[in-house]
Symmetry: C2
Subunit: 218 residues, 2 copies
DNA sequence: TAGATTGTTAATCGATTAACAATC
DNA sequence: TAGATTGTTAATCGATTAACAATC
């Protein structure tokens, strides 16, 4: 019942945990105290066994016949994801996407706190977005070091992305959350996670194409 | 060498195709005419065999020893993803995320064209965002029907998301691209694709937690 | 008690990787 | 010709699902 360590836990499982979290927090708000895997699974198109297997990695313990305590399960998942303690992060790129990320209220409940924004556009530098000042890119490296920032968020164009990542890595960042579509290189020991909308869009449009082309195979 | 149909092609493959596309378009811009799977794979942390398997589903044909024609491969992937012909889409939610999506220039090269924005905030209705007028939510259903819109993009809060989806479905939409974290219900025959940042963030923060906790297992 | 549910081990399924003949 | 690469079939690996004893 110990939480699993390191590479042992699959990406698929990791990606389902926030989904459960959302359902659990909804139940919690509504005053529900215990929940079974069956109940959680009903919200999705997969079964209770998968839910149970997923929850197992967090070290959460349930009671036969009763299920899991909602509040405890929320805590266990958050701890496992590292969302229990909020991490400070730097955002690079004050464009439309950057602004949207800055304006997203809920990141702190996902363990993320954007403390500063960087851009190389002189017209943007010095302005404030959601009450955060836009700083010049050359301030990035010294501030990463001084503030011991672990997470860098890349919201710049594909052309600029690799240079930004290189700068972040050189400054000592440990993890990069990349929103640029370009494939990026990162040295061993630094985490790179890509948040790519186009991947999701590809699934959508391909399915839609098939749907529109013909539902002849029913 | 026929493109694969319907459910036969896996989600994993579908999600890698846009990655290849990005690399290919870069090569194309640089005047490269032929490319091998080995060259493509070098940009990623998986092998050439997987690339070849993925490309197979698009129906693209290569030449032994030479590889694939870059321009042809781009076309084949775009056709397979349904990005060759641009689809009109409606966006619901003119908040920060909605604005960012509207401002995203590249969607048309991904087969998506956002033609209208809807919101229920009276202060927003009538204003223009990136030269698109914000319309009242009650205009949604009649316009979906009249303009034969297939794709609806949901960029509202979790609380409002299900109601918006229901409205879109009732109006005859065929596919929903959802950005709300809530799990949504959708009837058979309508496509639901979730673009959830929190899933990607979960992978990042969990890995970072392990990294910071201790690289003792090397 | 009976039945639903957890926790865990075994079976299945699908995706990735390997192998190899064909080829330019 | 030799070697890299495609196309395709077989082997492996990992994730999901099934099975079932334990339990509240």
């Amino acid at each position: 019942m110990e939480p699993k360590i390191l590479s042992a836990v699959s990406r698929s499982t990791l990606k389902r945990l926030p989904l459960y979290l959302h359902v659990l927090e909804d139940l919690h708000r509504r005053g529900v105290v215990y929940v079974s895997c069956t109940t959680i699974a009903r919200k999705f198109d997969f079964g209770p066994i998968l839910v149970r297997k997923d929850l197992e990695v967090t070290g959460a313990a349930g009671k036969a016949k009763i299920g899991f305590r909602v509040a405890g399960l929320i805590d266990d998942i958050k701890k496992f994801l590292g969302w229990h303690n909020v991490q400070d992060a730097f955002l690079v790129g004050a464009g439309n996407l950057g602004k949207a990320l800055l304006g997203y209220q809920d990141f702190d409940s996902y363990g993320l706190n954007i403390v500063a924004v960087f851009d190389n556009d002189p017209r943007k530098i010095g302005t404030r977005i959601f009450n955060k000042e836009v700083l010049a890119l050359d301030k990035l490296a010294p501030l990463v070091k001084r503030m011991h920032i672990n997470i860098g968020i890349v919201a710049v164009s594909s052309e600029g992305a690799q240079a930004v990542v290189d700068a972040l890595v050189a400054a000592g960042i440990r993890a990069v959350w990349n929103f640029a579509p370009a494939p990026l290189e990162i040295p061993e020991g630094v985490i790179l996670e890509n948040a790519r909308l186009t991947q999701s869009l590809a699934v959508l449009t391909n399915k839609l194409k098939s749907l529109l082309a013909g539902p002849e195979k029913e």
